[in-house]
Symmetry: C2
Subunit: 129 residues, 2 copies
């Protein structure tokens, strides 16, 4: 059986993918892949997602330089969620979020509202130009 | 604004939720919440998900005893993914997966196929009885 057939793709042919930083184990982001994206990720050793907003393959880092080197590809017990262990590359390493932060999960629920609790490491204007 | 209104619920009124273990930072599982589930999670300090297979609220641990104590609730930059920092409780702590493993992400892609790379810590037959 093709390894890609084991995955339970959703109604849109996608699977959610968690990117976790090797070493720190920080969760950097969640995005989606279709079959082709996951196949290319495995071939390339870098994360290739499916952009739902742009409706096309998205080789992360193609615009920002913030590529993700993929060390491991994991699948959960229900075969419907993928987890990548990655190194977050870039001119300044470790910035996964388009806001210039380390992780996309920088809003924390505190005192009844969402607070930004992680610093911006690089001005996003200087990432995307 | 109600903090729950900030979340971009999907077409089914759900949001994907990553449960990450505090301390180790291991990713334990991914499940979904609706508005009520997230509200109850915040009130209770324990993870309450929406079971898509059973179509009802699912207070994790209600059958297995494997409750998740919630320390932090985080939201990503697009407001469409939630991350919980949890302690995985239970008679034997640290077992999040219904297969009796620590994490649901126990299948690793190696040599063209998925290999089980994490031990079963407790026979699932003895968890669900």
């Amino acid at each position: 059986m093709d390894w890609l057939d084991k995955i339970k793709w959703d109604g849109n042919g996608l699977v959610p993918v968690i990117a976790q930083e090797r070493g720190s184990n920080d969760v950097l982001m969640l995005a989606f892949m279709n079959r082709e994206a996951l196949a290319r990720t495995a071939e390339l050793g870098q994360a290739v997602y499916w952009s739902r907003s742009r409706n096309r393959l998205w080789h992360k880092g193609e615009e920002s330089g913030h590529y993700q080197q993929v060390h491991e590809i994991r699948l959960d017990c229900d075969n419907d969620v993928v987890l990548l262990k990655v190194t977050q590359l870039g001119h300044e390493a470790g910035i996964a979020c388009h806001t210039g932060r380390h992780s996309c999960f920088f809003q924390r629920f505190e005192d009844g509202r969402w607070q930004n609790v992680e610093p911006v490491l690089k001005d996003p204007v200087s990432i995307y130009r």
